[in-house]
Amino acid sequence: MGTQVSLHLRGLRVDTDPAVEPAVAAVFGYLRTADELFSTYRPDSQISTLRRRELPRDEWHPWLTEVVALCEEARDRTDGYFDPWRLPGGFDPSGLVKGWAAENAAAHLARLRGFDHYLNAGGDITAGVHGSRAPAWRVGVEDPADPSAFLAVLELRTGGLATSGSAARGPHIVDPHTGTHPSELQAVTVTGPTLLWADVFATAAFARGGEDVEEWVPSRAPGYEIAALARAP
């Protein structure tokens, strides 16, 4: 199962400005390279080789070094609730790589002047809206507990938004401390300055749960907040 990555640009003459096409190509070029390095489904990827313990440290791609360092930081900042080392099948940074790659890819749009953008990678979004009069992007957040309604419709200007959840189709997030599937929350959406950390803290908050989870996120990640939350009935 792949993740769809959708890029939207908004602005005057977006379909004729000659700077647009190379910028969009750079975005998807970055994502393809990241996919080649980090896909656990490609036997020849760096991450697959690493998981087989066949990749010496001196052969690591600089991006792998960066991602592993970010995984360590994420584990520390989340009190171990985000821990790519304690997953079935061994080290798997996929939960961090998607947000990291989407965000770095979208940075290739920075040199485009006068355009707003969002990049949606499988429901996790990084966005930029410039100009104070430009409208925010409106993001519908699915409500797993009540499919007849949205959990929330959030406005996103510049920053990241990520949702973690489980619900109808069964659990797939593991609490690293217990090895069990948490069931207290059904979905949690985190917003903040970057998609990388919004994504990490959405996953961690889902694994952790707790009555105080809405205070826990900003206490560990200033500037980030739980923007939508569905608790199990």
Binding site: Q4, H8, F28, K98, Y118, R169
Partner: protein
């Protein structure tokens, strides 16, 4: 004012399929890096003829999003620049479990999309499996409407 601002600004969208990831059932993934733009989603109605119709009017079928339970595919109708209808045209119904889940979920998901129309959403966030398929296909129908 807001709608005028949007109408004056064109949008473009590009979609690719990337980052296959492992699920607990460890199903074989579809090929990664497959570009989706250009072939699908498909526009199924004739282009608007009236000058005062919004440029994105028509019926747009999203890509079939592969979930581990089967494909999910959404079709939307846009009139006057607003989403007026949404149907899940394909969803998993092979196993008893899927039928049970989807016979309950799909009509409600359709309602959900109509609420999206009244809320004027630009994009969708979500995490669950069938729901993710729905999110992906709905997003790609939104993409098609902007293409």
């Amino acid at each position: 004012m807001r709608r005028i601002a949007i109408a004056a600004a064109a949008t473009i969208s590009v979609v690719v399929l990337l980052f296959s990831y492992r699920t607990s059932t460890d199903q074989t993934p579809v090929a990664t890096g497959r570009p989706l733009g250009g072939t699908q989603p498909s526009r199924t109605t004739s282009p608007p003829t009236s000058a005062d119709r919004a440029s994105g009017d028509g019926t747009f079928t999203g890509d079939a999003a592969d979930t581990r339970y089967g494909p999910v595919q959404v079709r939307i109708t846009v009139a006057g620049g607003r989403m007026t209808d949404a149907q899940a045209v394909r969803y998993p119904q092979e196993s008893g479990r899927d039928v049970r889940i989807n016979s309950a979920a799909v009509p409600e998901l359709n309602q959900e999309t109509l609420q999206a129309q009244s809320a004027q959403i630009d994009t969708v966030s979500g995490a669950t499996y069938t729901s993710e398929g729905y999110q992906q296909s709905l997003q790609s129908a939104i993409d098609a409407a902007h293409r």
